[in-house]
């Protein structure tokens, strides 16, 4: 059991978005949070990660470390890709510069390691943020719209990355508007059922 959420309710401002959400995530599972715009996918994911605690009720328990990747990439535009990962604010990347360069090569950014991230395209910036997945050993990934801004090859790379994380006993919870990227491997949590 990597994540256990029981009877979680989410409020934003004075409006209740979701109530009674139950989610148990164990190693080897992929969960996709689905639902219409504004139903509360991001709010739930932020609640599960513990970023926003106000307006989140219910019990959320983590066993072990997790990696949260939000809408915002937490990149400093003036810094190079290597520096951004080396000094990542989550402090979960303790890799050497060589390992970081390998990870950047894996996301097809070889040659861009030392350019300021602000000079890269939105998709390339997303890849820099996603390179953190390769450098972290957290068993649970919480990814908010990870496929946004990625091209076809990028999406395929991310899919393969999540699959191999799964084979290593990890789990992923993500939000996306693209249906069933992982086919039978994934389970959907339709937030429409919990909407208030």
């Amino acid at each position: 059991m990597l994540l256990e959420a029981t009877q979680v309710a989410i409020e934003r401002g004075d409006r209740r978005l979701l109530s009674g959400v139950d989610l148990r995530v164990t190693g080897g599972e992929i969960w996709q949070l689905v639902g219409a715009n504004g139903v509360g996918k991001t709010s739930l994911l932020r609640g599960l990660a513990g970023v926003a605690r106000l307006g989140v009720t219910g019990e959320i328990r983590h066993a072990g470390a997790f990696l949260y990747l939000g809408h915002a990439s937490a990149l400093k535009l003036g810094l190079s890709a290597v520096d951004n990962l080396r000094w990542h604010p989550a402090s979960d990347v303790t890799a050497s510069a060589g390992q970081i360069c390998e990870a950047l090569a894996a996301v097809n950014l070889a040659g861009y390691e030392h350019r300021p991230v602000g000079a890269l395209s939105a998709g390339q910036q997303r890849r820099v943020a996603l390179a953190r997945l390769l450098l972290s050993d957290a068993p649970l990934w919480l990814l908010d719209e990870p496929f946004t801004a990625l091209d076809v090859a990028g999406c395929e790379w991310l899919e393969a990355c999540v699959r191999s994380h799964l084979n290593g006993g990890g789990a992923t919870v993500f939000t996306s508007h693209q249906p069933s990227r992982f086919g039978t491997l994934q389970q959907d949590l339709d937030l429409g059922h919990y909407a208030v």
Partner: protein
């Protein structure tokens, strides 16, 4: 967040954040140059407005220098955590298993070196431009060194409290100007005492106490304020 990964030492975490923030400040030098430029412009304008009488400038200059330093610090510290909040760095910092007080202090330190400390270093030059007598220059330097530490920490606290408020600028000023008043009073009095041949040391000692006190208390308050701002 519970973690099975060996944790970094707090010193390593501090250093990482310090380097990250420091390097990213260095990539946009305009942000650093702004308060200095503001300081410079106001200092050049004052003699034009007041008349170039050296005797009058000498009595006014401690106050002018200090008020301008305070405003310059207010101007930049308001935005201290804004970019971290917008680009998502702050939520990542909050999720990391390290006290926000430490990581926030690292950012504030880098910020102070690039603004308050730099302003302190050039302040004797501005003092000369404004006709501050030579006896006051060293005291001005020391008082600003201690004073900008207080001003930056107080400004950082205000920034942490108001980042998620749209147009929080006015609220920020209301929050932190009262806290800055004692710093201003001690600072100007120290410089004036030095100019008049009095005893500036006791005022500098008070400023030093304020600086040490805010170094201990402000990071904890900033950490808590950042968490509150993220939660809502």
């Amino acid at each position: 967040m519970p973690s099975d990964r060996p944790l970094l030492s707090l010193r390593a975490v501090f250093l990482r954040q310090f380097l990250r923030h420091g390097r990213s400040i260095m990539t946009s030098p305009a942000d650093v140059a702004n308060p200095l430029l503001f300081f410079f412009m106001v200092i050049t304008l004052f003699p034009l407005g007041l008349g170039p009488d050296p005797a009058r400038l000498a009595t006014l200059s401690p106050g002018i220098l200090w008020v301008v330093a305070l405003l310059a610090s207010l101007m930049v510290s308001a935005k201290l955590f804004a970019s971290d909040f917008e680009d998502g760095s702050l939520e990542q910092l909050a999720l990391a298993p390290y006290p926000l007080a430490v990581t926030a202090l690292a950012e504030v330190s880098a910020h102070w070196l690039a603004t308050g400390f730099l302003l302190t270093l050039v302040s004797p030059l501005f003092g000369v431009m404004l006709g501050l007598p030579d006896e006051g220059l060293l005291t001005l330097l020391v008082s600003l060194l201690l004073g900008t530490i207080c001003l930056t920490l107080i400004g950082a606290l205000g920034s942490a409290l108001t980042i998620n408020i749209r147009r929080g600028g006015l609220l920020l000023s209301l929050l932190i100007i009262p806290l800055n008043v004692p710093v201003l009073i001690f600072g100007t009095t120290a410089v004036r005492e030095a100019v008049l041949g009095g005893n500036p040391e006791s005022w500098l000692a008070l400023l030093g106490a304020l600086a040490l006190g805010s170094l201990v208390i402000a990071p904890l308050a900033i950490g808590a304020a950042l968490r509150v701002s993220l939660d809502s």
